[in-house]
Symmetry: C2
Subunit: 134 residues, 2 copies
């Protein structure tokens, strides 16, 4: 019991998430999915995003600016957040195994994962602020 039933809504949500690398919020996903599913409700989006996260088919990324972002790429990777435009980028760099070993060595308990976010300014926003001085 409590078995998972298919739902068209969940499939559309999952497909949207797989097809973007923009790390959208629940609300953004809601707006996009509504184009193909006008009667979908925001609660359904949240519930399914949480389900997908529990099933390991999505990842939640918590940033300091309010809403949680979702990522359809579930293999471990790092992110960079532009503090100007708030966009979140995937970083194509190796996830450090040594850092997690170090953490295990100094934490009296179990560590099963870690998340790292880099903060900075993306190239697009750098261009914009340079323009101000031209």
């Amino acid at each position: 019991m409590a078995s998972l039933k298919y739902s068209r809504q969940r499939e559309v949500i999952k497909n949207y998430l797989s097809g973007t690398n923009s790390h959208p919020t629940a609300d953004t996903i809601y707006m996009h999915v509504r184009e193909q599913f006008p009667r979908i409700s925001l609660g359904t989006v949240y519930r399914n995003l949480n389900l997908l996260t529990e099933m390991g088919e999505a990842i939640k990324i918590t940033t300091p600016d309010g809403a949680v972002r979702f990522d359809g790429v579930t293999s471990p990777h790092y992110h960079a957040l532009c503090t100007e435009c708030e966009r979140l980028f995937d970083l194509d760099m190796n996830v450090s195994e040594s850092i997690i070993e170090e953490a295990r060595a100094c934490f009296p308990g179990t560590i099963h994962s870690h998340s790292t976010i880099f903060y900075g300014v993306c190239s697009h926003c750098q261009g914009k602020s340079i323009d101000l001085y031209q």
Copy 2:
């Protein structure tokens, strides 16, 4: 103009934050500070915590479970979050400089900082779950 004026409330908040390593939320800080300052308002706590953060005298830590935590220790360090009790611990380990260099090498923009949170189960909660099988 817009100069900073002294306030007893801010001092008490700052002192409370300096005297704990529990990474409290705004609401927790509010509850504690109220013992010495019964008429303080939650908005004042938030405003001053944000001020202290802007002045570099506190740090905001965003975790996946709702509220922002505050830390009076502003030197760079890592944290571990226990997914059982939600407590946040300071880790006494070196902050990697190489990881930020690596990130800079693969991000077309500027990176000025990073934050890492490890997820796991603290020793206290490990003890508790072991007890269940005894």
